[in-house]
């Protein structure tokens, strides 16, 4: 029974851990894009 639980726990943790890492990276990239766009708008207004 231990090996059954271990296999499911480890497998699901690996898959969902990777999914969580992807969401986090996705969030960071979208935040950075928004910041970049804001900066582009600001510099456009100043010029």
């Amino acid at each position: 029974m231990f090996y059954l639980r271990f296999a499911y726990a480890a497998g699901l943790l690996l898959l969902w851990g990777y999914a969580a890492m992807l969401w986090l990276e996705s969030y960071r990239v979208h935040q950075s894009v928004a910041r970049r766009n804001r900066m582009a708008e600001t510099s456009g207004e100043k010029s």
């Binding site: 480890a10 990777y18 960071r28 990239v29 894009v33 910041r35 582009a40």
Partner: protein, 236 residues
């Protein structure tokens, strides 16, 4: 439009998580325990769909690599990279669940049987693919080298599949299943397939975004830096 897409994305991930939870309940309540192997046989319902999805992810990398070599479009390179990353993750799950099965059924964590050895080689081949991508300079050169390697690495997939069928192996080549066991296998195949699709799509969208930003940075001369997790970035 954007918020509708976000809601759909959240709904998709919640659905996949719900299906996994339902399948775990199914495994506890509905699925019969196999007589000779005992509870450890139930690892099979997770192990097999993940193994099939690993092959699928490797195949997508192969097709996208051929597509890049043929048309030289970055969209193919982004897709190949995304599916290769997911393939590594899935292959790691196949190895871990397989090792747990081996320990429970055969009494050893690892044995150098043909299928296990080729599976480990597959995992290492795609790890090298990712290392190769990060070590080659220049976007076009990196994409070309990775595409050639992606085509060659796929050659191991038929070897993994055929190894247990053609060569005497401790790993079972096929298993006879009762109807209730077949239903459980099908029930596990659905969320694993959806999760694989979701992971590849998410990684692919991220890769596209990175590629577009890199192209923009080349044209307008402004660099692009991903925010650190704290978010305390001084406005330049």
């Amino acid at each position: 439009m954007k918020s509708a897409r976000s809601i759909l994305t959240v709904a998709f991930w919640l659905l996949v998580a719900g299906l996994f939870a339902a399948d775990l309940c199914l495994l506890q309540t509905y699925t019969p325990t196999e007589v000779t192997m005992g509870p450890v046989q139930k690892i099979f319902y997770f192990h097999l769909p993940v193994a099939i999805c690993t092959f699928l992810a490797c195949f997508i990398t192969f097709v996208a690599s051929v597509g890049y070599l043929w048309q030289r479009r970055t969209v193919f390179d982004d897709l190949a990279s995304a599916s290769a990353r997911v393939a590594v993750q899935l292959c790691a799950v196949v190895l871990v669940t397989g090792m747990a099965w081996g320990r429970g059924a055969w009494g050893v964590w690892w044995t150098w049987s043909p299928r296990l050895t080729f599976s480990l080689i597959l995992f290492l081949l795609y790890c090298v693919y990712l290392i190769l991508r990060s070590s080659v300079e220049g976007r076009q050169r990196r994409a070309t080298v990775a595409a050639v390697y992606g085509v060659i690495a796929f050659l191991d997939v038929p070897l993994v599949y055929l190894s247990a069928k053609l060569v005497p192996d401790i790993h079972p080549a096929s298993i006879h299943l009762e109807t209730s066991m077949q239903l459980t296998l099908l029930a596990w195949a659905v969320p694993v397939l959806l999760l694989t699709g979701g992971l590849i799509c998410t990684r692919f969208r991220l890769n596209r975004l990175h590629s577009q930003l890199a192209e923009q940075s080349e044209t307008d001369g402004r660099g692009f830096e991903v925010m650190p997790l704290t978010g305390n970035v001084a406005e330049a």
